[in-house]
């Protein structure tokens, strides 16, 4: 479960990115986080992943209190999350299999666990035949599916996707979002930050709209409000 309570965040340069947000995302939910550029979406992602600390308020993620988390607990908290980036962030010098195995290694998985888990996850994202390919040999959509597989491979409670369709064409975007819905149906909480209104409307999930550091709308069924491209 993710819970933000009266969270405020101000950067060192004086920018007040978040101005008192309270938000609860229950286990197993699928939530779109939308808003214009500079609305505070990226800051919320950074707060959720422990990259920055809030100035005020409390953040609880999967049983960890991120607002006063110790440095040693941060890796443990991050192991409950699977993060997907817009630019995929795959390691080009490693094969698809190695891109996945190294993140399992990073959390202490044994070679046997790795051998059993990776084929399953690759099958889930439809890339079982691409295990030995390098990221540069894959299309954008395939690379993003590898990124999803990487986020899933450690079996996290929550997937956080930051503009996952930003570099994909509409068809691949739809395909990818359907995959995230499928993952959600298997029990994983999914939070997707996006500005793609059509996609948001198509899936009819809960939509939290952020603007100027505030939650301006929280409803189910599609985006409510004006232009979210910013």
């Amino acid at each position: 479960m993710i819970r933000l309570k009266d969270v405020e965040m101000e950067y060192d340069n004086g920018t007040r990115a978040i101005k008192g947000i309270s938000l609860t995302i229950e286990d197993g939910e699928f939530v779109f986080l939308v808003g214009p550029s500079g609305s505070g979406k990226s800051t919320i992602i950074k707060l959720l992943t422990g990259e920055v600390e809030p100035c005020r308020g409390r953040i609880m993620i999967n049983g960890f209190s991120v607002s006063n988390i110790s440095e040693k607990q941060i890796p443990l908290m991050r192991r409950t999350l699977g993060i997907i980036f817009q630019d995929f962030r795959l390691i080009e010098k490693k094969t698809v299999y190695d891109n996945l195995s190294f993140v399992m290694r990073a959390v202490g998985a044994s070679p046997k666990e790795i051998k059993n888990r990776i084929p399953y996850v690759l099958q889930l994202v439809g890339l079982e035949k691409k295990a030995d390919s390098y990221p540069t040999e894959l299309s954008g959509g395939e690379q993003q599916r590898v990124a999803i597989a990487r986020a899933l491979v450690n079996n996290p409670n929550t997937i956080i996707a930051d503009e996952p369709t930003g570099n994909l064409d509409p068809e691949r975007s739809l395909e990818l979002m359907s995959l995230l819905v499928k993952i959600n149906q298997l029990g994983t909480t999914v939070v997707v930050v996006t500005h793609e209104k059509d996609l948001v409307d198509r899936f009819g999930k809960r939509v939290v709209t952020i603007d100027s550091g505030h939650v301006v709308n929280d409803s189910v069924g599609g985006y409510v409000g004006g232009n979210i491209h910013g």
Binding site: P75, R78, R79, R89, A106, V107
Partner: protein, 295 residues
């Protein structure tokens, strides 16, 4: 740390070293260069020190025996002289031998050829262990009954000591400076390789890898690069030293210089090179990766 982790870190360290070939080559190359410079300088200093030691040992005290002593009494002084602290050896030279030696120095001077040995005294040529204590040794020898006078070339001895002390200070200072410069250069070279891999480190951090897990492959990589640099530097140093030794041996004007054979030096050189290489490699890696491990 699990056994499979150790294997994984070693494998990652090694494959990282090869996959970042140019930067690894640069880091190993700089390690070799730094070790070679330090090694060459140290070996020159060791040889110079040995040469000075040889010259110091040529410096001896002459103790003249009282004229009233018979040859047997004079010879009996040897044990007393050898019992003096800091005396390495005492060689008896009769007045006849002393005269022969003197005449031999001037073979073309007829006026010295028929001198009576009685104008000279029996004497002992004394070699000492520690040149810095030459004054105390001289005083002790002077106090032995039967020793009439002692000649010790204290100024020459003082000169040797000053030269050796200055050379030691300069050597230590230069080696220390070279070491610090080496660590700095290698740390920056490895920093560049780390910078090249900042995305990889960021991903590892985001999936929940601990700092230790992220750090270990870099430590292995630094270790292997340092060790590889040390091995290459060792064999290069050997070749260089052998070439210089041959050059000195074949040069007539340098016949007085005795170069210590590398066979007598290879163990300390190998140990110091390996230790310095590993220290530089691992230290450089740890210092380079530190800033990427902050939350």
């Amino acid at each position: 740390m699990a056994k499979h982790d150790i294997g994984y870190f070693a494998h990652e360290g090694l494959s990282n070293m090869f996959s970042h070939g140019f930067m690894s080559f640069a880091a190993v190359g700089i390690t070799v260069a730094c070790l070679l410079i330090m090694g060459t300088f140290t070996l020159v200093a060791v040889n110079a020190n040995e040469l000075l030691r040889d010259l110091e040992q040529e410096n001896e005290i002459l103790a003249y025996v009282d004229d009233s002593y018979t040859e047997a009494e004079a010879k009996a002084l040897q044990k007393k002289l050898e019992a003096v602290p800091n005396v390495a050896s005492a060689t008896y030279i009769s007045k006849e031998q002393a005269m022969e030696n003197f005449v031999a120095q001037y073979p073309d001077e007829d006026m010295f050829q028929d001198l009576d040995p009685e104008i000279l005294r029996d004497r002992y040529a004394i070699k000492i262990t520690d040149l810095e204590q030459i004054r105390q040794t001289k005083e002790t020898v002077e106090g032995i009954p039967g020793i009439a006078r002692v000649n010790a070339y204290e100024e020459i001895a003082g000169g040797f000591i000053t030269v050796r002390n200055v050379a030691t200070v300069i050597c230590v200072a230069l080696i220390a400076i070279l070491f610090v410069v080496s660590v700095f250069i290698i740390s920056n070279t490895i920093k560049l390789t780390t910078f090249d891999r900042r995305d990889e480190i960021a991903i590892m951090r985001m999936v929940g890898a601990t700092n230790g897990f992220i750090r270990w492959p870099f430590v292995y990589e630094g270790f292997m690069m340092g060790l590889l640099g040390a091995v290459i530097a060792f064999f290069s140093q050997w070749g260089l030293y052998a070439a210089v030794t041959r050059g000195v041996d074949n040069n007539d004007t340098l016949q007085l210089i005795h170069v210590i054979p590398f066979q007598e030096l290879w163990v300390p050189v190998a140990v110091v090179f390996a230790a310095a290489g590993i220290l530089i490699g691992v230290g450089g890696s740890l210092s380079a990766i530190r800033k990427f491990l902050q939350v």
